[in-house]
Every structure is written in C-alpha cells, then in structure tokens.
Symmetry: C2
C-alpha cells in the first residue's frame, strides 16, 4: 500500500475527529455589540451565569457538601473548568462520549452517572480510566445489574487503572436503578470482588422530584428517597461495606438533599443557566436564588393582525418541558409564545396587555429546558454587560453536542 494513501490510524480520541474550527463569522463576533448577533442564536448572560455559580459555590460551602455538577447540561469542558475553579469536585455526565469530551478538554474527575452496557463503549470507558489514572484523576460510573458489573470487569481486566463504581438505587424515578435494599448490597459485594473497581457509594437521583411544583411535594418525595438511602446504607454497613458517598440531587431539590444528612454530593447542573421550567417551581426559601442566564435571541419575521412570528422554533430550543417564555423588559411588551413548528414561534399579546412587536424586532426567549436546548447548538455566545447594551465576550463551543454514544 502506498504510505501516502494509507488510512490514518485511529489514535485520536473519538470526539476530537468530529470537530471543526470556530467559523469566521463567530470569531469576528467577539467584541461586537449584542445587536450584531444573528438569529436565532443561543446566548449566555455571563454576568447572570457567574452570579449563579457563586451562589451555588457559597451554598455548598455553607452546607459543607461536595458538588459535582452535571455537564450533560452545558456539554462544555470550558464551563466545567469554571465550575471546578469555583469549588466543584469534577463533573457528572450521562454518556461515554460526553466523558471523552470532558477528559479531552482537561477535566480530571468525571462520573458517568448512568449504566453502560455495550462492550465497545466499556472498552472506551476502560481507556478513559487509564488516561485519567495516569493524570492523577479519577473516573467513576454507575451500575444497576450483576451483568453490568461483569461486563465492566471484563473491560477493565488487566488494566493498571481502577474505576469508582456507584450502585444506582431507584429512589422514585422509576427508570434505572435497583430496588433499595438487598439488591444493592449484592451488587456492592460483586463490585468489591474485582480488584480493578471499587464500590464508591450510592447513586440516588430522583429526577421526577425536581419538577414537582410545590416545595411540600418535593419535600415529601425527597423524604422517601432519604429513607431509601438510609435503609440501603444500613444493610451495606451491616454487611461490612462502608458507604463513602451518596450522590444525587438536582436544581429543584438540592436544598433537601443538602439538609438530609445522608447525601454527601450534589449533582445539580441546571442552576448555572436556569430555565423556564425550573422557574415554575415554588422556590424553597432556603434555596439559592438562581437567575435566567440562557437565552435564545430571535427576530420577528412576520406581523399579522393578531399575532407575530419569530424565527425560533423547536429546532432552536427544546420543548419537552414546555414552550419558552418571552423575556420582557417591561409589561408593555408582555408576549406569549406558542408552538409554531420547527422553525417558527407564534407570538401573541399576553392576557395582562401589551402590544405586538414590530417586524424585524429582536426578542429574547427563555428556553423551557436548558439541557436539550444547548444540545441543539454548536456554540453558545457569551455576552457581558446585559442583553440590552452588552457585548460579546467569548464564544463557547458545545464540545459534546450530539455526543449520544
């Protein structure tokens, strides 16, 4: 074979080969005023984001609790490192390819808080554990089946690295996770029977509780989760297996897990950006006050008798948790957003009054759900000095966008 036509060996980590340089039009945007941002675009209010970050760091410090925020939300090693600089111990991710992106971006403590079953993926997990181990970092993963432990052990066999393994228990989410109690003990024993892995504690995340609207409902749900954890921990300790860490909590309930006395790590991620869905929760008075920091800039492209149409539809923002709300600087401009399909939003005057926007006017939408919204975009545009008169400070790549495997 001609050496010049020989295929390049696949030496690079998977994520590295999928990325292109920053497009020129985005590179040129840095330093320009907000008005220069094309629509629809994903924009971060950096001042608001940094205030959220400080509030979370202060909260964790005050409650003497570790935090390892979920990077499945921002999918950006740059933002992960900002969180770590503020006090986070590392990041959580849901996918092997997200872990690869974080490690490639310089994050040294990564927890795949999800089950990985495919042999091909577990080989990549083992390779990542080795990379992190050599750097003095640490990889962790969740399991909820004996088969999962066996497959992970087979992938790790012969490796000089070790991996932290959390047993996931189902504390009310009804998704992954074994029933709290004896099943978790059996898995912990199986994990500790392999020298390449270490039982690191319990994964006890209650996703559904995050979005219960009243503080009372959330308290009731997390009280049950806490009981589940306590029961399982007691059985483990009786079996001579210490539980070093109990990890869980999201932006909706973090106050409750922090005060529980059994959770020792918070995974909340959405607090950094907040979204319209979390804003509908009655805030627990003890919770940090997080602000909206993530927006879709959009433009009005059609004005009719009783409605206007903007250029952002659900290819610009996820609608799994409801429609975006329209960020209004004053009541005169109160607008409601209705589903206009993939590429359009239909805007009507809100019941409290207001008037339709003009053709060409820019508007800011607060997405219903930040995680899948970020995943629609290759870049986030970071603005300093506010949405009205600020300027573009930096472009943040969504490195793990579309990292599904």
């Amino acid at each position: 074979m001609n050496p010049l036509t020989k295929p390049t060996p696949d030496a690079l980590p998977r994520k590295a080969s999928g990325k292109a340089p920053l497009p020129d039009h985005l590179r040129r945007l840095v330093g320009q005023v907000v008005d220069a941002i094309d629509t629809p675009s994903l924009v971060i209010d950096l001042d608001a984001m940094e205030r959220n970050l400080t509030r979370m760091a202060d909260f964790a410090k005050k409650h003497e609790i570790r935090w390892r925020p979920h990077a499945k939300m921002h999918k950006s090693p740059a933002l992960a490192k900002l969180q770590i600089a503020a006090g986070a111990i590392g990041v959580c991710v849901q996918k092997t390819s997200e872990a690869e992106a974080m490690v490639a971006g310089g994050v040294q403590n990564v927890y795949i808080s999800n089950e990985v079953i495919a042999q091909s993926k577990l080989a990549r997990v083992a390779a990542l554990a080795k990379v992190l181990s050599a750097q003095g970092g640490q990889l962790a993963i969740a399991v909820d089946s004996a088969e999962g432990v066996s497959r992970l052990a087979a992938a790790m066999a012969g490796s000089s690295a070790s991996i932290d393994v959390f047993v996931e228990i189902d504390v009310g989410q009804r998704r992954c996770g074994v029933i709290p109690g004896a099943a978790a003990v059996a898995l912990a024993k199986k994990i500790n029977s392999h020298s390449c892995m270490r039982f690191a504690g319990l994964q006890a995340y209650h996703g559904k509780a995050q979005h219960l609207r009243s503080a009372q409902e959330r308290r009731a749900a997390i009280a049950v989760a806490v009981e589940d954890v306590q029961y399982t921990r007691r059985l483990l300790e009786e079996a001579g297996i210490p539980v070093e860490l109990v990890t869980g909590a999201g932006t909706g309930t973090l106050v409750l897990e922090a005060a529980s006395g059994v959770y020792s790590e918070l995974q909340a991620g959405s607090f950094l950006f907040m979204d319209a869905d979390y804003a509908q929760n009655d805030r627990d008075p003890a919770a940090p006050k997080f602000e909206h920091a993530l927006f879709i800039k959009t433009q009005v492209i059609s004005v009719q008798a009783d409605h206007a149409v903007c250029d952002a539809g659900h290819k610009s923002h996820a609608i799994d948790s409801g429609m975006p709300t329209v960020h209004a600087p004053d009541a005169e401009h109160a607008l409601e957003y209705f589903n206009g399909g993939d590429e359009h939003g239909v805007l009507r005057v809100a019941p409290c009054g207001g008037r339709l926007p003009a053709l060409g006017q820019f508007l800011w939408l607060i997405p219903g759900h930040c995680d899948p919204t970020v995943n629609l975009h290759d870049f986030m545009i970071g603005v300093r000095g506010g949405l009205a008169r600020g300027q573009v400070e930096r472009i943040i790549r969504v490195e793990a966008r579309g990292a599904l495997t």
Copy 2:
C-alpha cells in the same frame, strides 16, 4: 504581520467552515453488519427510502405536477440530489443557512419558502442568487410584507442576478402569510416594480392540515385552502398579474393539492423517511404507500421488574409530535416507549402482550417527527438489506444540521 500567522480571509461560504471530516469510527463502519452500529444512532433503511422515492416520483408523474421536496427534513445535499435525479425540480428550505448548504452541495434550484427580514441574511440571500444565477440555477424566496419586499430589493440592488419571489398567503396555518386576496395583489405589484425580482406565484402551505387524522378533515381543510388560492389568483389575474405557480402541500395532504387543479408544485418532504406521527393519519386511498425508512438504533441498558430502559431519550429523537414507537418484528416483542428524559427511554410491555427485552438487546425506534430528529444528528447511517441482517452502505452527513440562521 507575519504572513504565516495572518488570519485566512473569509472566502468560504459560511457553512463550509463549520464542518469537520468524517470521524474514523464512522468511516470504518461502512461495509460492516448492522450489529456493529453503536447506539443510539440515526439509521436509514436505504431500500425503504428508495421505494418511497420511487412512489413519490411515480405519483408526481401520473398527476403531471412539479415537486420540490422540503430539504429542511433531511438537511442533506446528497439526498436532495437523489430526489432531483428521481424527478424533483429542486428543493425547498426554511433558512438562509440551509440554502447555503444546499448550494455548496451542488443543488441548483433552491426555494427559501419562508420570510427573511435581517439585512445581514438578505445580503447572503443576494450572494446566493448571484452564485446560482452564474451556474444557470435559480433561487426563490417567500415574502408576506411590503417591508420584506423593500428589504429584499435593497439587498438585491445592483445585482446582475434575479430572484423569484413567492407571496405567502395564510390558507389556515395561522403563522406567516398575508390574508388571501387584495393584500397578495399589492405585494405582487410591489415585487414586479423591482427589476431584480420576479413575482413567481403563491406560497400556500397548510401545515396544520398535514396532521389532521381523518381523510375527511384533511379534505375539508385543503378545500378551504384551494378556495383561498382561487380567490387570490382571480384577483391577481384581474390585475393583469399571471400566477405561474402555486406551491404547497406536505406528506399528509399531497393527494389533495395534486388533485386540486390549482396547486402546481408539491413541497412534501417527510414522505422520504415517514415518521410515527404521519403513520397515525388515516391514509387516503389515493396516496402513495410510504414506509418507515428512518430509525433510531438503541440498546437496553437496564431491566427492572416491570420495565426496561434504553439509551435513547429526546436528545436522540424529537418528541414534539409524540414519543417514538418501537419497531417490532413480531407481536411477541410489542413494547411501548415512555418518556425517560434526555438520555433514556422507558419500555413497557404493550397491552397486546409481549415480554420485556433482555439487557443489552438492540431495538429500533420509529421517531415521532423526522425533521427535528434528523437535526439532532451529525450523520445518518445508511443500511442496505434490512435492519435485521443488512450492512452499512454509506454514511450521509446532515450538512445543514443546526443551520438555524
């Protein structure tokens, strides 16, 4: 400045600078069996897709009607060219950046069937019109306001190229488009007052009608649209403005527009892949029989007492038109998919019976809505020979993925 460090001038079209080479793991997948495809992945059954294409081409030929399918669905110039080879006149798109991707990929007839208002985008539209004009191709665009016509004229001023302009009328979608009748005549006159643009006809797409479940409801909706078109065309002709083309129709109603005698171009795009939402329509007996050709391959990562969990959530497939259905080879495996969040799907045994899948088992999901599902993926994996025992024939890049502006 050192010429070696001088930034490269922005000579490439915007889309080109945002793309990276095909990742090695995907390049190596070509020729391998279906089992080798990682999960979750977007997979095209190429045989089914080609049958759909032939059926559409035959239908258009039989009804002697033009078709310009919507490329907002597949976002791929490669698939656009396949459609053109089968008889399509060109493609429709919704965004300027989608048009750029199509033109860069070699498509010469592109219709932006949407309003464009931003001056910066209109400058790109004018540049594209010039590129296509030089190649003997044609660019078209829709308008629904006098201001829109003026802005387009300003962008086209001094250009040697011309652009086809459709006036969008609202035939029931209640989104963009002027009220049928006099407003359309005024816009057509304004268009024809500019030498750089040509009134090309009426954009009369009824999006909502596509998803009405009964054939009778769809007939009633399109009957109203046809009346709206007839009325507007009569007024235009009375004003001495011939209506060369009436364009519209989607996969749900194309039979009706084709038989209407007033529509002369079909924009249907989803027929190529079909999706779970369109499958819920009662099929019009006169409509071509389209098959599901787009799937998410997913793996079971957790099995609990009464449910299983797969690794595809709504970051893998859009849920704006409902959950995906589980493609079952036989009744024994009938499963229902429930929302498990961004990265998970919860699977339960369907009421008709069946049993839970095994840990590690692969399943195939039929997405609720093909357009925004494709937009979540950078690549589509084309399989020949069926999902059970086929092999990967080609990797198709979603060139205009995330092309929002």
